[in-house]
């Protein structure tokens, strides 16, 4: 059974989208009856169903050789992976948001969102009372690195969920979070003031695992990219 390729798959919506493409390439992984491990012996692949945020850990430690994961989670993990293929679904945006009133002031006179935080100007982001720029987020590493690359000192407060509450309750004036439809932001009277990064979902591999199994993995990626009708870069 050591010949099976192993892949960690994220629980949730992404799996449903991925599964139909896997089936098109002849891979059937059935996670029935709350099972977390499924094997397709004919296709030579075994899948592990893991929590999205734990997925990089399993691949980094070589428990799963491959994985399907968003850039946001990969960035926070800090591990190095082989990036085999960007998938055409599951895309989202990492955005900075604030309460509507402040957003209107910051964006007044503009027809579109600024393309980077530089366009907003650091002075306009500082808190008028203490002169600091503070942000609440689940994505601490990304947020710190993003603003430091822009030369902006930032106080980052880590939250694990319901990040939208932070500006409403006055924890920090800004949040950095993933935004898909924006409905949660709107419901809490928040608005996006800057899109920081497009987040894509990729198939990744443990580097050593890829080097040892590159021929089979390249074949798998090639089949999948054909099924997805995307260019794998080859």
């Amino acid at each position: 059974m050591t010949d099976l390729l192993t892949i960690a798959l994220p629980k949730g919506r992404l799996l449903d989208q991925l599964d139909s493409y896997l089936r098109e390439t002849g891979i059937h992984l059935s996670f029935e009856d709350r099972k977390l491990i499924a094997t397709d012996t004919n296709a030579g692949i075994r899948g592990f169903l893991v929590k999205n945020s734990d997925l990089p850990t399993y691949v980094h430690h070589g428990i799963a050789g491959l994985g399907v994961c968003g850039e946001d989670v990969l960035y926070e993990s800090g591990y190095d992976f082989v990036r085999l293929l960007r998938l055409p679904f599951g895309r989202t945006r990492m955005c900075m948001a604030t309460v509507n009133q402040r957003a209107e002031t910051l964006l007044s006179g503009r027809n579109d969102l600024p393309k980077s935080v530089d366009e907003l100007g650091i002075d306009s982001l500082l808190d008028s009372s203490d002169g600091r720029f503070s942000v609440s987020t689940k994505f601490v590493e990304f947020t710190r690195d993003y603003f430091h690359r822009a030369g902006i000192p930032v106080d980052v407060i880590r939250l694990n969920g319901s990040v939208e509450l932070a500006p409403v309750l006055g924890l920090t004036p800004y949040i950095v979070d993933l935004v898909e439809t924006g409905s949660t932001l709107r419901a809490n009277k928040l608005s996006v003031i800057c899109e920081l990064k497009q987040i894509e979902v990729s198939i990744i591999a443990n580097p050593a695992y890829y080097k040892l199994n590159h021929a089979r993995i390249d074949r798998f990626v090639s089949q999948l990219s054909e099924s997805l009708k995307i260019d794998s870069g080859n």
């Binding site: 980094h60 443990n206 580097p207 040892l212």
Partner: protein
């Protein structure tokens, strides 16, 4: 949990302790590999555990820089704790090297200390054994290094390792053609084998066909024959300015791999020719790498078990102009994959204060015959 409890029960990250059988096996393996390296004419060296941090300015990658433990000595100097065996060895050796000593073959078997995140239990890089051939410019030195790393690995995990051989100079030729703001993007893409990003980055400077050809050249893993076919095919599509330089390096790698393949049976390893792969995405993890770069992998290890290459300008940084080529083996990663060596039996001889000297004589006689002998004391008894 109080700080005191944590101090007692936990350990700072960046190092590893070995105990009993584990330590015995580790030392046995290190001694065995040390003997092998000595049989090739390599002499042992021990580099200092600490050195002046400023000595390594500009030589460490940003990744390694973040992992170095630093301290301030009593004169206020910033001190770095040994985090990279090759760097510390080069600094140390450069103080004593003279041109008439070259070529010089040395090996080390020592611990390094690097910060690692607490949850990252897979580093296993803290004990390394490696060899360096200082003063060798040509193909022969590279062939010796590659032969030695394969021989060494095969002695621990017979027939199981593969080596991926790349060339830093080819990568430098390509990267140097790019706009400065695009270089790191493409290097990162190559490091992570991200073909889509690499091709996109290269296409900022080159035509689509050129970017595609370069991406295929740099990211496809090959045996010799398929690499020869691909490389010479792709050379026609490369930007005109880089064809001759890349062709020269490609021919160098092909010759090196061809000779290494012929060396395998002579080395009496259990490795087959398909354990040698050409992989230009291996370009050396540190900024001091220059030409040849390689990593070795073994099924079951979550990361490479050995890495190395050429670093012709490293000794120059410390005042001695001398090329060098070498490798490091992550000993702990390898040990965990090797067949478990049984601990030798220890014979137990009962002894107490009345007959200790008599039993000591018995034990010594058996030890002279090669046995391992220990005493067992009755409770409360102490030997006189």
């Amino acid at each position: 949990m109080t700080t005191h409890t944590r101090a007692i029960l936990d350990q700072p990250t960046g190092t590893e302790g070995l105990y009993l059988e584990d330590a015995w096996r580790h030392r046995n393996t290190a001694a065995r590999l040390g003997a092998l390296l000595e049989s090739w004419g390599y002499l042992p060296v021990n580099s200092p555990m600490i050195d002046y941090h400023d000595a390594f300015a500009g030589l460490v990658s940003s990744e390694l820089a973040r992992e170095i433990y630093r301290l301030i000595d009593r004169e206020g100097e910033l001190i770095a704790i040994r985090s990279d065996a090759t760097l510390f060895l080069a600094k140390h050796m450069a103080r004593f090297l003279r041109p008439d000593m070259l070529p010089l073959r040395v090996y080390y078997s020592e611990a390094i200390l690097r910060h690692a995140r607490r949850e990252d239990i897979s580093r296993n890089e803290y004990f390394q054994i490696g060899a360096e051939l200082v003063g060798s410019t040509g193909l022969a030195g590279e062939l010796e290094t590659l032969s030695l790393v394969l021989k060494t690995l095969d002695s621990v995990v017979p027939g199981r390792c593969v080596i991926h051989i790349g060339h830093r100079h080819i990568v430098d030729i390509v990267i140097d053609t790019l706009e400065s703001q695009n270089r790191q993007y493409c290097l990162d893409a190559l490091k992570s084998h991200d073909r889509q990003s690499l091709r996109r980055g290269l296409a900022e400077t080159h035509t689509r066909d050129e970017a595609a050809a370069l991406t295929r050249l740099l990211t496809t893993i090959h045996g010799q024959t398929s690499f020869r076919d691909l490389a010479h095919g792709e050379l026609e599509h490369l930007p005109a300015g880089m064809v001759d330089a890349v062709r020269s390096d490609v021919d160098h790698i092909l010759l090196l791999c061809n000779l290494l393949e012929q060396a395998l049976p002579v080395l009496e390893t259990q490795l087959k020719s398909d354990s040698i792969r050409i992989d230009l995405s291996e370009f050396g993890s540190q900024s001091y790498h220059t030409g040849l770069a390689f990593r070795a992998y073994v099924e079951g290890a979550e990361a490479s078990v050995a890495s190395g290459g050429r670093y012709d300008s490293l000794y120059g940084h410390f005042g001695i102009r001398s090329p060098a080529v070498g490798f490091s083996i992550m000993l702990r990663r390898l040990e965990r994959l090797s067949p478990m060596e049984p601990l030798p039996d220890v014979q137990i001889i009962p002894a107490d204060s009345t007959d200790f000297l008599k039993q000591l004589a018995v034990a010594e006689a058996r030890r002279r015959d090669g046995d391992r002998v220990a005493f067992s004391f009755a409770p409360g008894e102490e030997p006189v």
